[in-house]
Amino acid sequence: MKQKKTLLTVISIVVLFLGVYLADQNLDSYKMRILNLCAIYVVLGLSMNLINGFTGLFSLGHAGFMAVGAYTTAILTMPDVVKGQNFFMVPMMKPLDTMHVPFFLALLIGGIFAGIVGYLIGAPALRLRGDYLAIATLGFAEIIRVVFTNIQSVTNGALGLKGIPESSNIWWTVGVATVTVLFIGSLINSSYGRAFKAIREDEIAAESMGISLFKHKVLAFTIGAFFAGVGGGLLGSLMGTIDPLMFRFFLTFNILLIIILGGMGSITGTIISAFIITIGGEALRFLDESMTIGNLVIPGISGLRMVVFSALLMIVVLFFNRGIMGTNEFTWDRLFAKFGKKPLAKGGSKQ
């Protein structure tokens, strides 16, 4: 039975990549870009869900960790010439201007740097709880952004970085998303995952059961920051250009929207809602443009589509206050139970 399930998982991953191949062949670049964004938001959503959903730490520092990852990856992959063109105001700091590593390594280093920053922020901030932690992490994320705006010889300040090699493609993004799903899924189902959930449920009881609150909170926070950094690196290389203004609170809010809609503490929910929010965000773009209904001409109001999301969020909070999935997960057992004895009939559906 266990082997059968592993086999099913492997098959569905193969089917997933087959689907990616077909999409890559048939869809235009605009649609591919949206798919890429979906996959990146899966990574970002999961990393935030690990901190906020599974461990129950209300953290709003995600944009900061993403900035660290995005800048690190960008700086490590940009060719010398492009760096020269970018840094025309203040020359780039010495060893950095000729430094580059392969894309994969750059992503990994970006993630590790974000993890280190996460650790340094987490160590003092995680002594706070609830709203106070949210305020502190939000503040730290802003500090990172302001620092990046001001260390011009490293980040090119407010001018941002342009011409980042667009190394990431659908294979990278879906690949990283798959690895993230498997990694965080496996972590959550281990003894450490249970300890995280125990902290979410009841800190006092968890501590009395011998779980060191500080160690486990910092661990969840650091792993979350690592994946946020990797997601940021992917995003930067997909966009081809980054600047500090990209990493404002709005970005954190977007990810928060994904995990609240999908369900705090559900990997499946995060995946589903990452797709809903990202595709929805593009599909609703017409709301921002000027519209003609009969004789009435409505001038374009930029940001109108966010109203839809705000309304959606309110509906979710009011009526489905645990999100689409709550803390439930997709498992093969659940699927078997639903479809009786024909497991292979639906074997390929990952969501």
């Binding site: 972590l187 281990s190 450490y192 006092i204 501590e207």
Partner: protein, 257 residues
């Protein structure tokens, strides 16, 4: 053999002395009860031993080591486990998960070994699962292992909390009002159960309890608190006949001239 030694411990919150000069010696295999009227400082004494509060004055030692002011998780790791007056289970998790979590403190594998399911972690996980199931078997909850812990009836929740505490491999078990809210039948079962786990797991038990039938039935010694002060200590017979204890519970007879 002396396991736990509490010496002249006081807890002062601002102007209020919640516990004053509390002394306790807990020996191997003993069951000691702490009784007293509401607000006497019993739970505060518990919280000091388990590290929730740091005593204002005094020293607490376990097997000769000073544990005063250590964190609750450090104290649990050394072998002092507890339950709570108002049950604190992990409500949204299953019965089995509740017990599995209590094994986490002895896990040697790091998070990467756990995530990638490396051999050492697999071995540990297997052992943890077996141990947890046998614990659930002993407390009679093995059939409910996949149920949400909050869906259990009250008496079973109490038992689960004790099973969870036992999973941390304690030598001393602190029970905070284990019989609270139980009917007479459940109370009798509990008394028997406490004695049984004491023998099976070689425990020393220190408990707070209001239910006199339980207290008098199983305690080797009893400690009586009133307004944070220890007013009496002794075996059940001595306590039952102690004038101060009777006064604390029933009030003082005043002479009207």
């Amino acid at each position: 053999m002396n396991l736990l030694k509490v010496e002249n411990v006081s807890m002062i919150f601002g102007g209020l002395t919640a516990v004053k000069e509390f002394n306790l010696d807990l020996n191997q295999g003993e069951i000691v009860a702490l009784i007293g009227p509401n607000g006497a400082g019993k739970t505060t004494a518990f919280n000091m031993i388990t590290g929730v509060y740091r005593p204002t004055i005094g020293r607490i030692s376990y097997k000769g080591n000073d544990i005063t002011g250590q964190r609750p998780d450090q104290i649990t790791k050394q072998g002092i486990a507890r339950t709570f007056q108002n049950i604190r289970l992990f409500k949204d998790l299953t019965v089995l998960d509740n017990v599995l979590i209590a094994n986490h403190l002895h896990l040697k594998s790091n998070f990467l070994e756990a995530t990638f399911k490396l051999p050492r972690y697999r071995r540990e996980e297997k052992r943890i699962l077996e141990k947890s199931l046998s614990l659930l078997e002993k407390v009679g909850l093995v059939d409910a292992q996949n149920e949400k812990s909050s869906s259990l009836p009250y008496g079973k929740q109490r038992r689960l909390e004790i099973a969870r505490a036992l999973a941390t491999n304690p030598e001393i078990l602190l029970l905070d009002e284990p019989a609270a809210g139980m009917n007479p039948k459940e109370t009798d079962d509990l008394t028997e159960f406490i004695r049984q786990i004491r023998d099976e797991f070689h425990l020393s038990i220190f408990m707070i309890e209001h239910h006199m039938q339980v207290v008098m039935g199983i305690s080797d010694r009893i400690c009586v608190f009133d307004h944070g002060v220890t007013i009496a200590e002794g075996n059940p017979y001595e306590i039952q006949n102690n004038q101060k204890v009777i006064e604390a519970y029933l009030g003082v007879a005043e002479d009207y001239a």
